[in-house]
């Protein structure tokens, strides 16, 4: 059986690539510390020696559109091109190509459908910065095959927070039942408080530092029940109009397990958002 060797949850700040590669007067004052934190975070994945990455993210109206919008979608393809024209234009992100792990995609789809998740699939999926950012931050050599899993945190009606946690728990079970002797890491990215296209955007900090503090506590302590008791689709409007991306962190809490404290926690208070980095090393994951 496969072994779940790391669970990694992170914000996906599309400006990291440009900030970290800028030089001279173009380099922002916060870049050096940001790079230091990201490289330390990267080590937590490297140390787990994964063979395959399951990558949870959310398409930002790039390939998925309102005329045919899935709630949860699994990519099943041999390759995934990455990044779109408007991400090159606005963030300076590079185009890249990731290899796909199609047999694991097929396993997640079959087992997920049988477990009651009506997963959509795509045989030709171009991944956006919700998945390419963690490639850049966590595995810049881009040498591992991936399985992309997209969630809808963007186009209401959305699934409720509990459904994200349930899918996270199911993803863990499905990865651990994959009959391949491979080391799998599950990586998911989302947001803490975030405002886009509203009056609280691009402030000196994230729009709701108090929400961010609580969110980091929920995630780092594995307090799934406490988080579910406070977080609803309605409540997520209050910290910022794009804060529903926090539900991807809730999915990752489901993967990590109830009450499971993160083994690595770091944050970085930037303009516009609080960056947050978490890694768990499951101790019961190996059955090979």
């Amino acid at each position: 059986m496969a072994e779940l060797v790391a669970v990694v949850a992170s914000t996906h700040h599309p400006f990291y690539y440009r900030a970290s590669t800028a030089t001279g007067e173009e380099r922002p004052p916060f870049a050096d510390e940001w790079v230091r934190k990201v490289e330390a975070f990267r080590q937590t994945l490297t140390r787990a020696r994964p063979d395959v990455l399951v990558m949870v993210g959310s398409d930002h109206f790039h390939q998925l559109w309102l005329d045919n919008m899935p709630q949860f979608l699994v990519g099943k393809a041999p390759c995934y091109d990455g990044n779109f024209f408007n991400e090159e234009r606005e963030f300076g992100l590079p185009r890249l190509v990731c290899a796909g792990q199609e047999d694991l995609s097929a396993h997640l789809l079959r087992e997920g459908l049988d477990a009651g998740f009506d997963l959509a699939f795509s045989n030709e999926l171009r991944i956006d910065h919700s998945i390419t950012c963690p490639i850049i931050t966590l595995r810049p050599q881009n040498d591992l095959p991936i399985v992309p899993v997209y969630t809808n945190i963007f186009a209401p009606p959305l699934p409720r927070p509990k459904r994200f946690v349930q899918l996270g728990r199911a993803i863990r079970e499905m990865v651990e039942s994959w009959p391949a002797r491979r080391r799998v890491a599950v990586i998911g990215t989302g947001h803490l408080s975030l405002e886009l296209g509203g009056p609280r955007q691009f402030g000196p900090h994230g729009p709701d530092p108090e929400f961010d503090r609580k969110a980091v506590e929920w995630i780092s302590s594995g307090d799934v029940e406490g988080c579910l008791a406070e977080v609803t689709l309605d409540s997520l409007h209050l910290p910022g109009n794009a804060t529903h991306g926090f539900m991807d962190f809730m999915l990752m809490m489901g993967v990590a397990g109830d009450g499971r404290k993160a083994d690595y926690v770091d944050t970085y208070d930037l303009f516009h958002t609080m960056e947050a980095y978490f890694t768990w090393y499951p101790d019961g994951g190996g059955r090979s």
């Binding site: 930002h60 109206f61 559109w65 309102l66 005329d67 045919n68 779109f84 024209f85 408007n86 234009r89 606005e90 963007f154 186009a155 209401p156 009606p157 886009l196 296209g197 509203g198 009056p199 609280r200 955007q201 691009f202 402030g203 409007h237 209050l238 109009n241 794009a242 303009f271």
Partner: protein
Amino acid sequence: MSKYLLNKFLFTVDRDPELVERYRAEPRATVEWWESARANRILGCHADESSTWLCFEDAEREALAAHDYPRLFELGAHPFLTLTLFIAMFERDHPPLGFQTEYARRLAHVRLPYPDIAT
């Protein structure tokens, strides 16, 4: 009200470099052309299989033609789509992050709950 069609305009213009420039330079003419030629095009279908029923309401058409992004916010256009396209058109006219902070200032009067963006 057609929040979906507002979003479709923002989405289809944003992903086309030529249309971004055309909408920046000639907003009213671009909106009129788009509504007559593109509004009913189903994105995954052949042109002969277009829809027959989509059109803007007057307030929506006017907000797009006037580049009035605070009004688009009030009308329930998806804020991410509006922000992305307007950054593409106008960030170049401002110092770094200047357009983004001006955008926030022009929406400073907005209070929670924000307009519903469900389509």
